[in-house]
C-alpha cells in the first residue's frame, strides 16, 4: 500500500480523527455487538497510514456501526472510537457519496 498524505489531510478536515494511541490490542473487535470484524483497529490503521482505497472499501462497515461506544468505554488506550467513525463517515459523505457540506 502507498501512504496518501492527501487523504490524511482530508481525514483531519473531516473531524477530529485520531487513532494514534491505538495499541492494537483488539478489545474493540472482541466487544463489538455487531461483530464487525474490520472495526476498528485494522480500519483505523489503514486510515492512519492514508490508505484511501482500503478505507473506501469498508464503507458498509463504517456505516453499520451503531456508535454504541461499548468499544470506546473499554479501550485501554483511550481512543475516541465513535468520534473517529463519525469523522470517517464525514469524509465518505463528502468525497464518495458526493454530498455537499451542510
Amino acid at each position: 500500500m502507498k501512504v496518501d498524505t492527501g487523504f490524511l489531510d482530508a481525514l483531519k478536515l473531516g473531524g477530529e480523527f485520531d487513532a494514534r494511541l491505538c495499541i492494537n490490542c483488539g478489545t474493540c473487535t472482541a466487544l463489538c455487538p455487531l461483530g464487525l470484524e474490520i472495526l476498528p483497529r485494522r480500519l483505523f490503521r489503514h486510515a492512519l497510514l492514508g490508505d484511501r482505497e482500503r478505507v473506501l472499501g469498508e464503507t458498509d462497515a463504517i456505516f453499520s456501526c451503531l456508535l454504541c461506544r461499548l468499544c470506546e468505554a473499554n479501550c485501554p488506550a483511550g481512543v475516541h472510537i465513535a468520534e473517529n467513525v463519525r469523522a470517517l463517515r464525514a469524509v465518505l459523505n463528502q468525497g464518495v457519496q458526493g454530498l455537499a457540506e451542510a
Binding site: 500500500m1 489531510d9 497510514l49
Partner: protein, 574 residues
C-alpha cells in the same frame, strides 16, 4: 598447623550460594583444619547483624585471622576489611574466598562438584590466611587540584562543582571553543532547555571563576605519578608544553555521532540527513522546515541507525544509544509546533523512552506522529525514484504488509559512538570496554571510577547518555574527587612488591618487567639492589616470576602463601 587461631564464615548469600553448594559441608571441612578454631554459616555475611556476630566471635575467641567465603572480592573486600578492623584485627589478616561468582553461579548444574570445589577454595583461603602478616596502609598526601579533560556539558559542570568545593581545576579542551556537542543543538528534552543557552551559561560561570583555568586547542600528552599527585603535561595551542601537578583526573571526552556508511539506510541520497543534522537545522531556523528551498511536508525517521547492530565479528555497536528515542520523540513535537500540518512517520524497532520520558513518546503520538515498527531482519529500504524519496517498510500491525511512504525528508536517527582518541587512551592507561567507550570498575557499584585510582570517567566518554545523565555522572565524579582531595591524604593498599636485600644482586629484570616504572636501582652497602617505589607499585606481580633469585615478592601474596594455596587446592576432598 601453624599455631594460628583462624575463623571461617561461610555465606549462603540468601540462596545464591547455598542453592548450589552444600555450605554446611564446606563449613565442616573447613573446621577440620588445625588452625581453624571458629566456623559458622551466615545467611548474609555482609549484613550488619552478621558482621556484628563475627566481630564478637573474633573478640571472644581472640582470632588472629578471618576467612569469609562469600562473593567476589570486587564487591565486599572493603566491607570485611573494615569489619576486621572494627574487631581489632589487622585488615590484611582477612581473606575473601569467592564462593559465588567463581563457584555456585558457575556450577549451578552439579551440586556435588560445586561443593567439592567450594571445599578446596576455602582450604586455599585458610592456607593463605595462616601465613598472612599484619600490614599497614601507606598514607600519602593529595593535592587539591584537578585536571578535567573535555569542556562539554559534563566537563564544564564537573569543573564548576569542583570549583565550588574549593578545588582548583585545569579544564582542557581539544577544540577551539568549549561546549562540545550540546552547544550545536537547539531545544533539548525533556524540558525544552536550549543547548546553546545552557552552554553559554556554564561557560560564563566557568570563566568567572578564579580557580578554573580553561585551556583551548589543548591536549593531555603525558601522565605519570599516582593518585593524589599526578604529573601531567598539556600541549597548548602554540605547541607549548605546560607541566601541571594534579590530585585527580576527570575524563569527560564525550562521544561522536555515528556517521552512516554511504548507502546505509539511503545515506548520501539527497534529502537523507541524520538526527544531529536535523537538530542543527532546527536550531538555526525559527520557521517551518525547508529542504533546498522547498517546504518539508512529511518526514520519515528511521530509528536505531548505527545502534543495536547484530553481534558479528568486529562489531562494537551492539549497544542501545539510549538518548535517541526520547530525543526524536521530543523533536517531533518541536517540528509539529513549527508546522502543525506536517506528517511524521517514525520507523522504530523498540521505543525505549525509559522512565518519565515515556511522556515524550505519548506527546509525540498525540501531536500527530505515526509510529511503525520494523524488525531487525527486515529493515526499511530507502531509495530515490522519479525525483522523490521512497521509503518501503513492512508494518507489523498490518501483518507485515509493505507500506510505501514518499517523505520530503528522511532522518536517520543515529546513535553515539566512542571518540577516536587512541593517543589519550595510551596516555591515561584507562581500559576500554568491548563497546569502545572507557570502562568503569563496576557499572552499578563504582560507575565513575576506573582501575586507575584517581582517574574518573564521566558523561558519554563512559557510554551513551543524555544530558541529565551526563551531568549526574559529572557530579558523581566530583563527590569522589572531593572526598579524595579535601581530606589531604589517601591510604593506599600495602599489597605491593618488596625486595629482600640479602638475596637481590641487581640484574634489572624486575625493572624491565614492571609496567609502572616502580622499580629503581639503589646502592645497598657496597653493591646495587632493586628498590620498589611503593606508591607507584600496583601489586601486579609481573616482577615476581622475572626474578631468578626469588628476591622480590608481593606482600599479601608471598611465594610461600601461593605455594601453600596450591597445595591446599590440590588436596583430595573426602
Amino acid at each position: 598447623m601453624t599455631g594460628r587461631k583462624l575463623g571461617v564464615v561461610v555465606c549462603q548469600c540468601g540462596g545464591n550460594i547455598s542453592d548450589y553448594v552444600d555450605v554446611e559441608k564446606v563449613r565442616a571441612e573447613a573446621a577440620k583444619d588445625g588452625d581453624v578454631v571458629s566456623s559458622q554459616v551466615q545467611m548474609f555475611a555482609c549484613s550488619d547483624a552478621a558482621q556484628q556476630s563475627v566481630i564478637q566471635e573474633i573478640r571472644e575467641k581472640k582470632l588472629d585471622g578471618i576467612v569469609v567465603c562469600s562473593c567476589s572480592p570486587k564487591l565486599h573486600t572493603a566491607t570485611f576489611r573494615a569489619m576486621a578492623e572494627r574487631a581489632g584485627l589487622n585488615p590484611y589478616e582477612y581473606t575473601q574466598v569467592n564462593l559465588r561468582e567463581q563457584c555456585s553461579w558457575a556450577h549451578t548444574h552439579d551440586r556435588a562438584a560445586a561443593t567439592e570445589k567450594g571445599v578446596r577454595l576455602v582450604r586455599a583461603g585458610i592456607a593463605k590466611t595462616a601465613l598472612s602478616q599484619p600490614l599497614e596502609k601507606m598514607r600519602v598526601e593529595t593535592l587539591p587540584q584537578t585536571l578535567v579533560i573535555g569542556a562539554g556539558v559534563a566537563g564544564l559542570r564537573a569543573a564548576l562543582a569542583l570549583s565550588d568545593l574549593g578545588i582548583s581545576v585545569h579544564l582542557v579542551e581539544k577544540a577551539d571553543h568549549p561546549g562540545g556537542q550540546v552547544r550545536r543543538w537547539g531545544t533539548l528534552f525533556p524540558n525544552d532547555k536550549v543547548g546553546q543557552a545552557l552552554i553559554e551559561d556554564l561557560v560564563g560561570r566557568v570563566t568567572a571563576r578564579d580557580n578554573i583555568m580553561l585551556y583551548l586547542n589543548s591536549e593531555l600528552v603525558e601522565k605519570s605519578g599516582r593518585v593524589g599527585a599526578f604529573s601531567v603535561t598539556i600541549r597548548a595551542a602554540n605547541g607549548e608544553r605546560i607541566p601541571l601537578n594534579v590530585g585527580a583526573i576527570v575524563v569527560a571526552t564525550g562521544f561522536e555521532p555515528y556517521t552512516p556508511a554511504p548507502g546505509e539506510f539511503g545515506a548520501g541520497l539527497d534529502g537523507v540527513i541524520t538526527l544531529p543534522e536535523l537538530k542543527e537545522r532546527l536550531a538555526a531556523t525559527a520557521g517551518p522546515l525547508t529542504h533546498r528551498g522547498q517546504p518539508v511536508r512529511s518526514i520519515a525517521y528511521v530509528y536505531c541507525v548505527g545502534s543495536r547492530q547484530p553481534a558479528e565479528e568486529g562489531t562494537r555497536r551492539t549497544y542501545c544509544s539510549r538518548y535517541c528515542c526520547s530525543a526524536t520523540s521530543h523533536l517531533a513535537t518541536v517540528v509539529t509546533g513549527l508546522d502543525p500540518k506536517i506528517h511524521q512517520f517514525h520507523l522504530f524497532r523498540d521505543v525505549r523512552t525509559y522512565g518519565k520520558y515515556e511522556a515524550l513518546y505519548e506527546r509525540a503520538l498525540k501531536s500527530g506522529s505515526l509510529f511503525l515498527r520494523y524488525s531487525e531482519e527486515d529493515p526499511p529500504a530507502i531509495t530515490r525514484e522519479n525525483g522523490g524519496l521512497v521509503v518501503r517498510v513492512h508494518d507489523r500491525l498490518l501483518a507485515g504488509e509493505e507500506v510505501e511512504i514518499r517523505p520530503d525528508l528522511v532522518v536517520l536517527v543515529t546513535g553515539m559512538v566512542p571518540r577516536a582518541n587512541d593517543d589519550l587512551v595510551r596516555v591515561l592507561k584507562v581500559p576500554i570496554g568491548p563497546d569502545g567507550f572507557f570502562r568503569e570498575v563496576h557499572v552499578k557499584l563504582r560507575p565513575v571510577e576506573t582501575i586507575v585510582d584517581g582517574v574518573y570517567i564521566v558523561g558519554t566518554a563512559q557510554g551513551p547518555k543524555n544530558v541529565a545523565e551526563s551531568v549526574a555522572t559529572a557530579l558523581a565524579s566530583v563527590s569522589k574527587a572531593g572526598a579524595l582531595l579535601l581530606k589531604g591524604y589517601v591510604d593506599l593498599d600495602p599489597l605491593v612488591a618488596r625486595v629482600d636485600p640479602t638475596r637481590c644482586t641487581w640484574c634489572g629484570d624486575c625493572q624491565t618487567a614492571c609496567p609502572y616504572g616502580a622499580i629503581d636501582e639503589v646502592e645497598y652497602g657496597d653493591r646495587h639492589i632493586a628498590q620498589v617505589n611503593a606508591v607507584l607499585c600496583k601489586g601486579e606481580g609481573a616482577c615476581v616470576p622475572a626474578c631468578a633469585k626469588a628476591a622480590i615478592s608481593v606482600q599479601g601474596y608471598t611465594n610461600e602463601q601461593i605455594t601453600s594455596m596450591i597445595d591446599a587446592l590440590a588436596k583430595e576432598v573426602a
